[in-house]
Protein backbone atom coordinates (compact mmCIF):
# COMPACT_ATOMS: atom_id res chain seq x y z
CA UNK A 1 0.00 0.00 0.00
CA UNK A 2 2.75 2.43 1.00
CA UNK A 3 4.63 1.69 -2.20
CA UNK A 4 1.49 2.31 -4.22
CA UNK A 5 0.82 5.60 -2.49
CA UNK A 6 4.45 6.62 -2.89
CA UNK A 7 4.28 5.96 -6.60
CA UNK A 8 1.02 7.86 -6.84
CA UNK A 9 2.55 10.81 -5.04
CA UNK A 10 5.50 10.87 -7.43
CA UNK A 11 3.25 10.64 -10.49
CA UNK A 12 0.99 13.37 -9.15
CA UNK A 13 3.89 15.66 -8.35
CA UNK A 14 5.41 15.13 -11.79
CA UNK A 15 2.16 15.91 -13.59
CA UNK A 16 1.56 18.89 -11.33
CA UNK A 17 4.99 20.30 -12.18
CA UNK A 18 4.28 19.86 -15.87
CA UNK A 19 0.90 21.53 -15.49
CA UNK A 20 2.12 24.61 -13.65
CA UNK A 21 5.36 25.10 -15.57
CA UNK A 22 5.40 28.28 -17.66
CA UNK A 23 5.76 26.35 -20.91
CA UNK A 24 2.58 24.48 -20.24
CA UNK A 25 0.53 27.53 -19.41
CA UNK A 26 -2.30 27.87 -21.86
CA UNK A 27 -3.17 31.13 -23.46
CA UNK A 28 0.16 32.82 -23.08
CA UNK A 29 0.71 36.52 -23.66
CA UNK A 30 -0.87 37.89 -26.80
CA UNK A 31 1.27 38.81 -29.81
CA UNK A 32 3.39 41.90 -29.33
CA UNK A 33 2.23 43.80 -32.34
CA UNK A 34 -1.13 44.72 -33.73
CA UNK A 35 -2.18 46.06 -37.05
CA UNK A 36 -4.69 48.64 -35.87
CA UNK A 37 -6.08 50.04 -32.65
CA UNK A 38 -9.57 48.90 -33.72
CA UNK A 39 -8.51 45.35 -33.05
CA UNK A 40 -7.92 46.08 -29.38
CA UNK A 41 -10.50 45.06 -26.83
CA UNK A 42 -11.57 47.85 -24.50
CA UNK A 43 -12.57 47.05 -20.94
CA UNK A 44 -15.42 49.36 -20.03
CA UNK A 45 -17.03 50.30 -16.73
CA UNK A 46 -19.69 52.72 -15.62
CA UNK A 47 -18.71 56.40 -15.75
CA UNK A 48 -19.21 56.63 -11.97
CA UNK A 49 -16.66 53.89 -11.30
CA UNK A 50 -13.52 55.32 -9.70
CA UNK A 51 -11.28 52.54 -11.03
CA UNK A 52 -8.97 53.78 -13.80
CA UNK A 53 -6.48 50.97 -14.10
CA UNK A 54 -6.58 47.24 -13.51
CA UNK A 55 -3.96 44.56 -13.78
CA UNK A 56 -4.50 41.55 -16.02
CA UNK A 57 -4.41 39.33 -12.94
CA UNK A 58 -7.13 41.32 -11.23
CA UNK A 59 -9.10 41.38 -14.44
CA UNK A 60 -8.92 37.62 -14.61
CA UNK A 61 -10.23 37.35 -11.07
CA UNK A 62 -13.08 39.68 -11.93
CA UNK A 63 -13.96 37.78 -15.10
CA UNK A 64 -13.85 34.46 -13.27
CA UNK A 65 -16.09 35.70 -10.48
CA UNK A 66 -13.34 35.49 -7.87
CA UNK A 67 -13.68 39.20 -7.13
CA UNK A 68 -17.25 40.23 -6.57
CA UNK A 69 -16.93 43.80 -5.29
CA UNK A 70 -15.25 47.00 -6.38
CA UNK A 71 -13.06 48.80 -3.85
CA UNK A 72 -16.01 51.08 -3.00
CA UNK A 73 -18.04 48.03 -1.94
CA UNK A 74 -20.36 47.99 -4.91
CA UNK A 75 -21.04 44.59 -6.37
CA UNK A 76 -19.38 43.77 -9.67
CA UNK A 77 -21.76 42.82 -12.43
CA UNK A 78 -19.97 41.13 -15.28
CA UNK A 79 -21.28 41.52 -18.80
CA UNK A 80 -20.23 38.96 -21.37
CA UNK A 81 -21.07 38.88 -25.05
CA UNK A 82 -22.72 35.91 -26.71
CA UNK A 83 -20.65 32.77 -27.32
CA UNK A 84 -18.95 32.75 -30.70
CA UNK A 85 -18.39 36.49 -30.92
CA UNK A 86 -14.80 37.57 -31.51
CA UNK A 87 -14.78 39.83 -28.46
CA UNK A 88 -15.81 36.99 -26.18
CA UNK A 89 -13.25 34.67 -27.73
CA UNK A 90 -10.57 37.24 -26.97
CA UNK A 91 -11.69 37.50 -23.35
CA UNK A 92 -11.74 33.74 -22.86
CA UNK A 93 -8.33 33.37 -24.47
CA UNK A 94 -6.43 36.32 -23.01
CA UNK A 95 -8.16 36.94 -19.70
CA UNK A 96 -9.83 33.75 -18.55
CA UNK A 97 -7.49 31.35 -20.36
CA UNK A 98 -10.30 28.87 -20.77
CA UNK A 99 -12.39 27.55 -23.58
CA UNK A 100 -16.14 28.01 -23.72
CA UNK A 101 -16.98 24.76 -21.94
CA UNK A 102 -14.44 25.33 -19.20
CA UNK A 103 -15.73 28.84 -18.64
CA UNK A 104 -19.35 27.68 -18.41
CA UNK A 105 -18.45 24.90 -16.04
CA UNK A 106 -16.32 27.22 -13.93
CA UNK A 107 -19.21 29.61 -13.39
CA UNK A 108 -21.73 26.86 -12.84
CA UNK A 109 -19.54 25.32 -10.18
CA UNK A 110 -18.83 28.72 -8.63
CA UNK A 111 -22.55 29.43 -8.35
CA UNK A 112 -23.13 25.92 -7.05
CA UNK A 113 -20.57 26.29 -4.28
CA UNK A 114 -21.82 29.79 -3.50
CA UNK A 115 -18.41 31.35 -4.13
CA UNK A 116 -19.63 33.21 -7.18
CA UNK A 117 -22.35 35.54 -6.01
CA UNK A 118 -23.94 36.35 -9.34
CA UNK A 119 -23.57 34.92 -12.82
CA UNK A 120 -22.54 37.13 -15.76
CA UNK A 121 -25.12 38.85 -17.92
CA UNK A 122 -24.89 37.86 -21.55
CA UNK A 123 -25.62 40.37 -24.27
CA UNK A 124 -25.33 40.04 -28.00
CA UNK A 125 -23.98 43.37 -29.20
CA UNK A 126 -21.65 46.21 -28.34
CA UNK A 127 -24.61 48.57 -28.10
CA UNK A 128 -26.26 46.29 -25.57
CA UNK A 129 -23.09 46.07 -23.52
CA UNK A 130 -22.67 49.84 -23.54
CA UNK A 131 -26.29 50.36 -22.54
CA UNK A 132 -25.96 47.89 -19.70
CA UNK A 133 -22.71 49.36 -18.41
CA UNK A 134 -24.20 52.85 -18.67
CA UNK A 135 -27.20 51.81 -16.56
CA UNK A 136 -25.53 49.61 -13.93
CA UNK A 137 -22.98 51.37 -11.70
CA UNK A 138 -21.07 48.19 -10.80
CA UNK A 139 -20.97 46.76 -14.32
CA UNK A 140 -17.86 45.79 -16.22
CA UNK A 141 -17.83 44.65 -19.82
CA UNK A 142 -15.86 44.78 -23.01
CA UNK A 143 -16.27 46.05 -26.55
CA UNK A 144 -14.00 46.71 -29.49
CA UNK A 145 -12.03 49.89 -29.14
CA UNK A 146 -13.90 51.22 -32.17
CA UNK A 147 -17.24 50.60 -30.43
CA UNK A 148 -16.43 52.77 -27.42
CA UNK A 149 -18.39 55.97 -26.93
CA UNK A 150 -18.69 58.64 -24.27
CA UNK A 151 -21.39 56.84 -22.31
CA UNK A 152 -18.91 54.44 -20.75
CA UNK A 153 -15.47 54.65 -19.22
CA UNK A 154 -12.53 52.72 -20.64
CA UNK A 155 -10.06 51.50 -18.04
CA UNK A 156 -6.38 50.90 -18.56
CA UNK A 157 -5.03 47.37 -18.35
CA UNK A 158 -1.60 46.82 -16.79
CA UNK A 159 -1.12 50.59 -17.05
CA UNK A 160 -1.72 50.66 -20.81
CA UNK A 161 -4.45 52.59 -22.54
CA UNK A 162 -6.46 50.87 -25.24
CA UNK A 163 -4.52 52.69 -27.98
CA UNK A 164 -1.08 51.88 -26.58
CA UNK A 165 1.06 49.54 -28.65
CA UNK A 166 1.67 47.41 -25.54
CA UNK A 167 -2.01 47.08 -24.67
CA UNK A 168 -2.46 43.38 -23.82
CA UNK A 169 -5.98 42.63 -25.05
CA UNK A 170 -6.53 42.12 -28.74
CA UNK A 171 -9.09 40.57 -30.98
CA UNK A 172 -7.72 38.13 -33.49
CA UNK A 173 -7.89 39.63 -36.98
CA UNK A 174 -9.37 36.51 -38.55
CA UNK A 175 -12.10 36.38 -35.91
CA UNK A 176 -13.02 40.03 -36.21
CA UNK A 177 -16.27 41.06 -37.81
Amino acid sequence: MHRLLGMLTMVGAAVLLLEVSPGAARGGPPPASTTAAEQNLAIIVNQANAVDDISLKELRMVFLGERSHWPNGRRITLVMMDPGLAERKAVLRDICRMNENEFSRHFLQGLFTGEVFVSPKTLSSATGVRKFVFNVPGAIGYVRASDVDATVKVIRVNGHGVDDPDYPLRIEARASK
Partner: protein, 463 residues
Amino acid sequence: MKSRTFLPIGSFLAHAGQSVGNRVLLLALGILMSAPCLRAQGATSAAGADQQTIQMLLQRIERLEARVAQLEGTHTEAARSETVNPIAPATHPPTGPAAGPATAPQTTAQVPAPEQEMEHLEPERMDLSKTLLRMRGFGDITFHGTDQRGSTNSFSLGQLNLFVTSDISEKFKFLGEIVFESGPDNFYNVPGGRRNEFAVDVERYLLQYSYNDYFNLAAGRYHTAIGFYNTAYHHSTWFQTTTGRPLLFQFEDSGGILPIHNVGLSASGRIPSGPLGLHYVAEIGNGRASRNPLNEEPVQNEVDENNYKAFNLALFARPESIRGLQVGFSGYHDKLMPMGQPRVDESILAAHAVYMAPKFEWLNEVVLVRHSPEGTSAVFNTPAFYTQIAKRFGSYQPYFRYQYINGSDREPIFPDVGRIEGPSVGLRYDASESVALKLQYDYNLERHQPASNALSVQLGFTF
Protein backbone atom coordinates in the same frame (compact mmCIF):
# COMPACT_ATOMS: atom_id res chain seq x y z
CA MET B 1 -34.84 58.19 -19.39
CA LYS B 2 -34.08 58.66 -23.03
CA SER B 3 -33.27 55.03 -23.48
CA ARG B 4 -36.63 54.06 -21.99
CA THR B 5 -38.49 55.99 -24.66
CA PHE B 6 -36.21 54.48 -27.25
CA LEU B 7 -36.99 50.88 -26.44
CA PRO B 8 -40.54 50.45 -27.78
CA ILE B 9 -39.64 52.39 -30.88
CA GLY B 10 -36.60 50.23 -31.23
CA SER B 11 -38.69 47.12 -31.03
CA PHE B 12 -40.94 48.53 -33.73
CA LEU B 13 -37.96 49.32 -35.91
CA ALA B 14 -36.66 45.79 -35.61
CA HIS B 15 -39.68 44.54 -37.50
CA ALA B 16 -39.49 47.32 -40.00
CA GLY B 17 -36.22 46.06 -41.48
CA GLN B 18 -34.09 48.22 -43.64
CA SER B 19 -36.54 50.72 -45.15
CA VAL B 20 -37.64 51.90 -41.78
CA GLY B 21 -39.04 55.23 -42.79
CA ASN B 22 -41.15 53.77 -45.58
CA ARG B 23 -42.58 51.06 -43.34
CA VAL B 24 -43.50 53.56 -40.71
CA LEU B 25 -45.32 55.60 -43.30
CA LEU B 26 -47.18 52.51 -44.54
CA LEU B 27 -48.21 51.64 -41.03
CA ALA B 28 -49.40 55.15 -40.40
CA LEU B 29 -51.47 55.01 -43.57
CA GLY B 30 -52.91 51.65 -42.55
CA ILE B 31 -53.96 53.07 -39.24
CA LEU B 32 -55.48 56.09 -40.97
CA MET B 33 -57.45 53.82 -43.29
CA SER B 34 -58.67 51.66 -40.46
CA ALA B 35 -59.91 54.63 -38.49
CA PRO B 36 -63.06 55.21 -40.59
CA CYS B 37 -63.92 51.52 -40.37
CA LEU B 38 -63.70 51.67 -36.63
CA ARG B 39 -65.83 54.78 -36.67
CA ALA B 40 -68.51 52.98 -38.75
CA GLN B 41 -68.55 50.07 -36.36
CA GLY B 42 -68.81 52.43 -33.46
CA ALA B 43 -71.95 54.06 -34.92
CA THR B 44 -73.78 50.80 -34.58
CA SER B 45 -72.53 49.91 -31.16
CA ALA B 46 -71.18 52.29 -28.57
CA ALA B 47 -70.58 55.89 -29.55
CA GLY B 48 -68.61 56.68 -26.40
CA ALA B 49 -66.12 53.93 -26.99
CA ASP B 50 -65.67 55.08 -30.58
CA GLN B 51 -64.78 58.58 -29.57
CA GLN B 52 -62.18 57.24 -27.22
CA THR B 53 -60.72 54.96 -29.90
CA ILE B 54 -60.60 57.77 -32.42
CA GLN B 55 -58.86 60.04 -30.01
CA MET B 56 -56.36 57.33 -29.26
CA LEU B 57 -55.70 56.69 -32.91
CA LEU B 58 -55.34 60.36 -33.69
CA GLN B 59 -52.84 60.73 -30.92
CA ARG B 60 -50.98 57.72 -32.18
CA ILE B 61 -50.95 59.11 -35.73
CA GLU B 62 -49.53 62.33 -34.42
CA ARG B 63 -46.80 60.47 -32.61
CA LEU B 64 -46.03 58.40 -35.68
CA GLU B 65 -45.91 61.45 -37.92
CA ALA B 66 -43.46 63.08 -35.58
CA ARG B 67 -41.45 59.90 -35.51
CA VAL B 68 -41.45 59.59 -39.29
CA ALA B 69 -40.26 63.16 -39.59
CA GLN B 70 -37.49 62.45 -37.13
CA LEU B 71 -36.47 59.27 -38.93
CA GLU B 72 -36.52 60.98 -42.30
CA GLY B 73 -34.22 63.61 -40.92
CA THR B 74 -31.84 61.01 -39.56
CA HIS B 75 -32.04 59.01 -42.75
CA THR B 76 -31.13 61.98 -44.92
CA GLU B 77 -28.25 62.82 -42.64
CA ALA B 78 -27.00 59.26 -42.70
CA ALA B 79 -27.33 59.04 -46.47
CA ARG B 80 -25.18 62.15 -46.77
CA SER B 81 -22.41 60.78 -44.59
CA GLU B 82 -22.45 57.17 -45.73
CA THR B 83 -21.09 56.17 -49.07
CA VAL B 84 -21.12 52.41 -48.56
CA ASN B 85 -24.83 51.88 -49.21
CA PRO B 86 -27.27 54.60 -50.24
CA ILE B 87 -30.27 52.69 -48.83
CA ALA B 88 -28.75 52.17 -45.44
CA PRO B 89 -31.09 51.66 -42.47
CA ALA B 90 -31.51 54.62 -40.24
CA THR B 91 -29.17 54.70 -37.29
CA HIS B 92 -30.65 54.87 -33.84
CA PRO B 93 -31.56 58.26 -32.53
CA PRO B 94 -28.80 59.71 -30.42
CA THR B 95 -30.35 58.89 -27.08
CA GLY B 96 -27.89 58.22 -24.29
CA PRO B 97 -26.02 54.93 -24.41
CA ALA B 98 -28.24 53.57 -27.14
CA ALA B 99 -26.60 55.89 -29.57
CA GLY B 100 -23.85 54.69 -31.82
CA PRO B 101 -20.28 55.54 -30.98
CA ALA B 102 -19.85 59.25 -30.78
CA THR B 103 -16.51 59.24 -32.45
CA ALA B 104 -17.05 56.51 -35.01
CA PRO B 105 -20.51 56.39 -36.57
CA GLN B 106 -21.44 52.91 -37.67
CA THR B 107 -21.87 52.19 -41.32
CA THR B 108 -24.18 49.66 -42.87
CA ALA B 109 -21.33 47.29 -43.39
CA GLN B 110 -20.46 47.50 -39.70
CA VAL B 111 -23.99 46.97 -38.42
CA PRO B 112 -25.72 44.07 -40.09
CA ALA B 113 -29.49 43.81 -39.74
CA PRO B 114 -29.50 40.66 -37.53
CA GLU B 115 -27.38 42.42 -34.92
CA GLN B 116 -29.84 45.29 -34.84
CA GLU B 117 -32.68 42.86 -34.28
CA MET B 118 -30.84 41.18 -31.46
CA GLU B 119 -30.16 44.51 -29.83
CA HIS B 120 -33.84 45.26 -29.61
CA LEU B 121 -34.51 41.98 -27.88
CA GLU B 122 -31.90 42.61 -25.21
CA PRO B 123 -33.88 44.82 -22.86
CA GLU B 124 -35.95 41.75 -21.94
CA ARG B 125 -32.80 40.22 -20.51
CA MET B 126 -31.60 43.34 -18.78
CA ASP B 127 -34.44 43.99 -16.39
CA LEU B 128 -32.69 44.47 -13.09
CA SER B 129 -35.84 45.05 -11.10
CA LYS B 130 -36.87 41.43 -11.24
CA THR B 131 -35.95 38.91 -8.57
CA LEU B 132 -34.83 36.13 -10.82
CA LEU B 133 -35.31 32.59 -9.64
CA ARG B 134 -32.90 30.35 -11.42
CA MET B 135 -32.97 26.60 -11.32
CA ARG B 136 -30.45 24.03 -12.40
CA GLY B 137 -30.83 20.30 -12.08
CA PHE B 138 -28.41 17.46 -11.52
CA GLY B 139 -29.07 13.75 -11.60
CA ASP B 140 -27.52 10.36 -12.10
CA ILE B 141 -28.51 6.82 -12.93
CA THR B 142 -26.16 4.01 -11.95
CA PHE B 143 -25.84 0.32 -12.61
CA HIS B 144 -23.73 -1.35 -9.95
CA GLY B 145 -22.77 -4.74 -8.69
CA THR B 146 -20.52 -6.22 -6.05
CA ASP B 147 -19.39 -9.67 -5.03
CA GLN B 148 -20.47 -9.10 -1.43
CA ARG B 149 -22.80 -11.79 -0.16
CA GLY B 150 -26.45 -10.83 -0.27
CA SER B 151 -26.09 -7.97 -2.72
CA THR B 152 -27.70 -7.89 -6.14
CA ASN B 153 -26.78 -6.12 -9.35
CA SER B 154 -29.11 -3.17 -9.64
CA PHE B 155 -29.97 -0.06 -11.50
CA SER B 156 -30.21 2.84 -9.08
CA LEU B 157 -31.68 6.26 -9.42
CA GLY B 158 -29.31 8.72 -7.83
CA GLN B 159 -30.16 11.99 -6.24
CA LEU B 160 -32.32 14.28 -8.33
CA ASN B 161 -30.96 17.62 -7.29
CA LEU B 162 -32.72 20.91 -7.97
CA PHE B 163 -30.31 23.76 -7.34
CA VAL B 164 -32.12 27.05 -6.90
CA THR B 165 -30.73 30.57 -6.62
CA SER B 166 -32.37 33.95 -6.52
CA ASP B 167 -30.85 37.41 -6.52
CA ILE B 168 -32.95 39.11 -3.91
CA SER B 169 -31.05 42.38 -4.04
CA GLU B 170 -27.55 43.61 -4.72
CA LYS B 171 -26.37 42.28 -1.36
CA PHE B 172 -28.75 39.39 -0.67
CA LYS B 173 -29.15 36.12 -2.45
CA PHE B 174 -30.97 32.86 -1.78
CA LEU B 175 -29.40 29.50 -2.50
CA GLY B 176 -31.11 26.17 -2.09
CA GLU B 177 -30.55 22.54 -2.97
CA ILE B 178 -33.65 20.38 -2.99
CA VAL B 179 -32.88 16.72 -3.41
CA PHE B 180 -35.20 13.87 -4.24
CA GLU B 181 -33.57 10.57 -3.44
CA SER B 182 -34.60 6.97 -3.46
CA GLY B 183 -33.65 4.18 -1.12
CA PRO B 184 -33.52 3.93 2.66
CA ASP B 185 -31.47 6.22 4.81
CA ASN B 186 -28.68 4.54 6.66
CA PHE B 187 -28.07 5.89 10.14
CA TYR B 188 -25.40 4.11 12.08
CA ASN B 189 -25.69 1.11 9.77
CA VAL B 190 -29.42 0.87 10.49
CA PRO B 191 -31.59 1.45 7.44
CA GLY B 192 -34.43 3.84 7.97
CA GLY B 193 -37.37 4.48 5.69
CA ARG B 194 -38.71 2.23 2.98
CA ARG B 195 -36.54 0.74 0.31
CA ASN B 196 -37.24 1.97 -3.23
CA GLU B 197 -39.26 4.90 -1.98
CA PHE B 198 -38.43 8.49 -2.90
CA ALA B 199 -37.99 11.08 -0.21
CA VAL B 200 -37.27 14.81 -0.35
CA ASP B 201 -34.44 16.50 1.53
CA VAL B 202 -33.65 20.18 1.60
CA GLU B 203 -29.89 19.81 1.60
CA ARG B 204 -28.99 23.47 1.46
CA TYR B 205 -31.18 26.40 2.45
CA LEU B 206 -29.21 29.60 2.65
CA LEU B 207 -29.79 33.29 2.73
CA GLN B 208 -26.50 34.88 1.75
CA TYR B 209 -25.39 38.42 2.43
CA SER B 210 -22.37 39.72 0.58
CA TYR B 211 -20.92 42.87 2.13
CA ASN B 212 -17.66 42.81 0.23
CA ASP B 213 -14.98 40.34 -0.81
CA TYR B 214 -13.76 40.16 2.77
CA PHE B 215 -17.04 39.48 4.51
CA ASN B 216 -19.94 37.32 3.43
CA LEU B 217 -22.52 35.96 5.81
CA ALA B 218 -24.92 33.10 5.23
CA ALA B 219 -27.70 31.84 7.46
CA GLY B 220 -29.50 28.53 7.14
CA ARG B 221 -28.45 25.02 6.31
CA TYR B 222 -25.05 24.67 4.67
CA HIS B 223 -22.30 22.18 4.01
CA THR B 224 -19.72 22.37 6.78
CA ALA B 225 -16.37 23.69 5.57
CA ILE B 226 -14.41 20.65 6.70
CA GLY B 227 -11.73 19.99 4.13
CA PHE B 228 -12.24 20.61 0.43
CA TYR B 229 -14.57 18.02 -1.06
CA ASN B 230 -17.59 18.77 1.05
CA THR B 231 -17.97 22.33 -0.15
CA ALA B 232 -16.78 21.72 -3.69
CA TYR B 233 -19.24 19.14 -4.95
CA HIS B 234 -22.25 19.16 -2.62
CA HIS B 235 -24.96 16.89 -4.04
CA SER B 236 -24.01 16.82 -7.69
CA THR B 237 -22.39 13.65 -9.02
CA TRP B 238 -22.01 15.26 -12.43
CA PHE B 239 -19.46 17.74 -11.03
CA GLN B 240 -17.50 14.93 -9.40
CA THR B 241 -14.96 13.10 -11.48
CA THR B 242 -15.78 9.77 -9.83
CA THR B 243 -19.11 7.99 -9.38
CA GLY B 244 -19.38 8.98 -5.73
CA ARG B 245 -17.92 10.85 -2.80
CA PRO B 246 -14.97 9.46 -0.88
CA LEU B 247 -16.05 7.32 2.08
CA LEU B 248 -14.66 9.99 4.34
CA PHE B 249 -17.19 12.50 2.99
CA GLN B 250 -20.25 10.24 2.79
CA PHE B 251 -23.44 12.00 3.82
CA GLU B 252 -24.72 11.48 7.34
CA ASP B 253 -27.75 9.53 6.12
CA SER B 254 -25.45 7.22 4.18
CA GLY B 255 -23.45 6.34 7.26
CA GLY B 256 -20.79 9.05 6.93
CA ILE B 257 -18.55 9.94 9.85
CA LEU B 258 -18.48 13.73 9.42
CA PRO B 259 -21.07 16.41 10.17
CA ILE B 260 -21.50 17.15 6.47
CA HIS B 261 -24.44 19.51 7.01
CA ASN B 262 -24.97 22.14 9.64
CA VAL B 263 -27.70 24.61 10.49
CA GLY B 264 -26.56 28.02 11.67
CA LEU B 265 -24.39 30.90 10.50
CA SER B 266 -21.41 30.89 8.19
CA ALA B 267 -19.07 33.81 7.58
CA SER B 268 -16.48 33.69 4.83
CA GLY B 269 -14.24 35.88 2.74
CA ARG B 270 -10.76 36.77 1.66
CA ILE B 271 -8.00 37.76 4.04
CA PRO B 272 -5.79 40.60 2.75
CA SER B 273 -2.67 38.60 2.01
CA GLY B 274 -1.48 39.63 -1.45
CA PRO B 275 -0.36 36.83 -3.71
CA LEU B 276 -0.92 34.22 -1.01
CA GLY B 277 -4.69 34.39 -1.56
CA LEU B 278 -5.78 33.54 1.97
CA HIS B 279 -9.45 32.87 2.72
CA TYR B 280 -11.36 32.10 5.90
CA VAL B 281 -14.61 30.37 6.82
CA ALA B 282 -16.06 30.64 10.34
CA GLU B 283 -19.20 28.70 11.17
CA ILE B 284 -21.43 28.22 14.18
CA GLY B 285 -24.43 25.92 14.21
CA ASN B 286 -26.38 23.11 15.80
CA GLY B 287 -23.90 20.47 14.70
CA ARG B 288 -24.70 16.85 14.15
CA ALA B 289 -26.98 14.81 16.41
CA SER B 290 -25.24 12.03 18.23
CA ARG B 291 -27.32 9.48 16.28
CA ASN B 292 -28.67 7.88 19.40
CA PRO B 293 -31.62 7.00 19.14
CA LEU B 294 -30.49 5.56 15.86
CA ASN B 295 -33.41 6.41 13.67
CA GLU B 296 -33.27 10.16 14.17
CA GLU B 297 -32.31 12.62 11.46
CA PRO B 298 -28.63 13.36 12.07
CA VAL B 299 -28.85 16.98 10.90
CA GLN B 300 -30.47 19.11 13.58
CA ASN B 301 -32.67 21.24 11.38
CA GLU B 302 -35.04 22.45 14.04
CA VAL B 303 -33.87 21.55 17.53
CA ASP B 304 -30.38 21.11 18.89
CA GLU B 305 -29.96 18.28 21.38
CA ASN B 306 -28.00 20.61 23.66
CA ASN B 307 -27.21 24.26 24.19
CA TYR B 308 -23.64 23.89 23.07
CA LYS B 309 -23.11 25.09 19.52
CA ALA B 310 -20.77 23.46 17.07
CA PHE B 311 -18.15 25.75 15.58
CA ASN B 312 -15.77 25.37 12.72
CA LEU B 313 -12.90 27.51 11.53
CA ALA B 314 -11.23 26.94 8.18
CA LEU B 315 -8.31 28.74 6.58
CA PHE B 316 -7.03 28.09 3.11
CA ALA B 317 -4.71 29.65 0.57
CA ARG B 318 -5.07 29.95 -3.19
CA PRO B 319 -1.72 31.31 -4.30
CA GLU B 320 -1.85 33.53 -7.35
CA SER B 321 1.37 32.05 -8.68
CA ILE B 322 -0.12 28.55 -9.01
CA ARG B 323 -3.70 28.88 -10.16
CA GLY B 324 -5.79 25.87 -9.19
CA LEU B 325 -3.78 25.07 -6.08
CA GLN B 326 -5.57 25.23 -2.74
CA VAL B 327 -4.00 24.33 0.57
CA GLY B 328 -5.82 24.60 3.87
CA PHE B 329 -6.89 23.22 7.19
CA SER B 330 -9.91 23.37 9.46
CA GLY B 331 -10.85 22.70 13.07
CA TYR B 332 -14.34 21.72 14.21
CA HIS B 333 -15.67 21.25 17.73
CA ASP B 334 -18.98 20.09 19.16
CA LYS B 335 -20.46 18.20 22.07
CA LEU B 336 -22.65 15.17 21.43
CA MET B 337 -25.21 13.72 23.81
CA PRO B 338 -25.84 10.05 23.01
CA MET B 339 -28.78 8.71 24.99
CA GLY B 340 -27.78 6.80 28.09
CA GLN B 341 -24.10 7.61 27.68
CA PRO B 342 -21.83 10.37 28.92
CA ARG B 343 -21.54 13.50 26.82
CA VAL B 344 -18.95 13.13 24.08
CA ASP B 345 -16.53 15.85 23.12
CA GLU B 346 -16.02 15.88 19.36
CA SER B 347 -13.06 17.49 17.59
CA ILE B 348 -12.36 17.19 13.90
CA LEU B 349 -9.11 18.36 12.37
CA ALA B 350 -8.74 18.38 8.60
CA ALA B 351 -6.06 19.38 6.13
CA HIS B 352 -6.07 19.39 2.36
CA ALA B 353 -3.87 20.14 -0.62
CA VAL B 354 -5.64 20.06 -3.94
CA TYR B 355 -4.79 21.12 -7.43
CA MET B 356 -7.71 21.61 -9.77
CA ALA B 357 -7.09 22.61 -13.36
CA PRO B 358 -9.35 22.06 -16.35
CA LYS B 359 -7.22 19.16 -17.54
CA PHE B 360 -5.69 17.83 -14.37
CA GLU B 361 -6.76 17.32 -10.79
CA TRP B 362 -5.05 15.99 -7.74
CA LEU B 363 -6.95 15.94 -4.47
CA ASN B 364 -5.44 15.02 -1.13
CA GLU B 365 -7.26 15.27 2.16
CA VAL B 366 -6.66 13.96 5.63
CA VAL B 367 -9.03 14.11 8.60
CA LEU B 368 -8.78 13.13 12.24
CA VAL B 369 -12.06 12.67 14.14
CA ARG B 370 -11.50 12.65 17.86
CA HIS B 371 -14.19 11.58 20.34
CA SER B 372 -13.65 11.73 24.07
CA PRO B 373 -16.48 10.77 26.44
CA GLU B 374 -16.57 13.19 29.35
CA GLY B 375 -15.65 11.84 32.76
CA THR B 376 -13.39 9.19 31.28
CA SER B 377 -9.82 9.24 30.07
CA ALA B 378 -10.74 7.40 26.90
CA VAL B 379 -10.03 9.07 23.57
CA PHE B 380 -11.03 7.57 20.25
CA ASN B 381 -9.18 8.80 17.19
CA THR B 382 -10.46 7.96 13.75
CA PRO B 383 -7.94 8.92 11.06
CA ALA B 384 -9.06 9.00 7.45
CA PHE B 385 -7.66 10.17 4.16
CA TYR B 386 -8.05 9.89 0.43
CA THR B 387 -5.97 10.83 -2.55
CA GLN B 388 -7.40 11.17 -6.04
CA ILE B 389 -5.70 11.92 -9.30
CA ALA B 390 -7.20 12.42 -12.75
CA LYS B 391 -5.96 13.64 -16.10
CA ARG B 392 -8.16 14.72 -18.96
CA PHE B 393 -7.49 13.64 -22.54
CA GLY B 394 -10.12 15.34 -24.65
CA SER B 395 -13.47 13.92 -23.54
CA TYR B 396 -11.84 11.10 -21.57
CA GLN B 397 -10.65 11.39 -17.99
CA PRO B 398 -9.08 8.35 -16.37
CA TYR B 399 -8.80 8.57 -12.60
CA PHE B 400 -7.49 6.77 -9.57
CA ARG B 401 -8.44 7.11 -5.93
CA TYR B 402 -7.18 5.49 -2.77
CA GLN B 403 -9.09 5.93 0.45
CA TYR B 404 -8.71 4.89 4.03
CA ILE B 405 -10.71 5.13 7.26
CA ASN B 406 -9.71 3.48 10.52
CA GLY B 407 -12.29 3.67 13.30
CA SER B 408 -12.12 1.80 16.56
CA ASP B 409 -14.60 -1.01 17.20
CA ARG B 410 -15.34 0.71 20.52
CA GLU B 411 -15.90 4.10 18.94
CA PRO B 412 -18.80 5.68 20.90
CA ILE B 413 -20.50 7.41 17.94
CA PHE B 414 -19.88 5.20 14.90
CA PRO B 415 -18.64 1.77 16.03
CA ASP B 416 -19.93 0.28 12.76
CA VAL B 417 -17.42 2.04 10.54
CA GLY B 418 -14.28 0.13 11.52
CA ARG B 419 -11.44 0.02 9.07
CA ILE B 420 -12.03 0.40 5.34
CA GLU B 421 -9.45 0.99 2.67
CA GLY B 422 -8.88 0.34 -0.95
CA PRO B 423 -8.26 1.70 -4.41
CA SER B 424 -10.74 2.77 -7.06
CA VAL B 425 -9.95 3.18 -10.70
CA GLY B 426 -12.23 4.53 -13.35
CA LEU B 427 -12.82 6.40 -16.56
CA ARG B 428 -15.05 9.38 -17.09
CA TYR B 429 -16.26 10.15 -20.57
CA ASP B 430 -17.98 13.45 -21.22
CA ALA B 431 -20.47 12.61 -23.93
CA SER B 432 -21.53 16.24 -24.11
CA GLU B 433 -20.97 19.33 -22.02
CA SER B 434 -23.85 18.21 -19.76
CA VAL B 435 -23.68 14.43 -19.74
CA ALA B 436 -20.91 12.24 -18.36
CA LEU B 437 -20.56 8.48 -18.45
CA LYS B 438 -18.38 6.94 -15.74
CA LEU B 439 -17.08 3.44 -15.29
CA GLN B 440 -15.51 2.64 -11.92
CA TYR B 441 -14.01 -0.38 -10.22
CA ASP B 442 -13.58 -0.45 -6.42
CA TYR B 443 -11.61 -2.84 -4.31
CA ASN B 444 -12.46 -2.63 -0.60
CA LEU B 445 -10.68 -4.15 2.34
CA GLU B 446 -12.67 -4.07 5.57
CA ARG B 447 -11.83 -5.21 9.07
CA HIS B 448 -13.63 -8.43 9.99
CA GLN B 449 -14.93 -8.69 6.42
CA PRO B 450 -13.65 -10.40 3.30
CA ALA B 451 -12.32 -8.15 0.57
CA SER B 452 -14.90 -7.10 -1.97
CA ASN B 453 -14.92 -5.98 -5.58
CA ALA B 454 -17.46 -3.59 -7.00
CA LEU B 455 -18.18 -2.29 -10.46
CA SER B 456 -20.42 0.59 -11.36
CA VAL B 457 -21.46 2.43 -14.50
CA GLN B 458 -22.98 5.83 -13.99
CA LEU B 459 -24.67 8.35 -16.19
CA GLY B 460 -24.38 11.75 -14.54
CA PHE B 461 -25.97 14.81 -16.03
CA THR B 462 -26.99 18.39 -15.50
CA PHE B 463 -30.06 19.99 -16.98
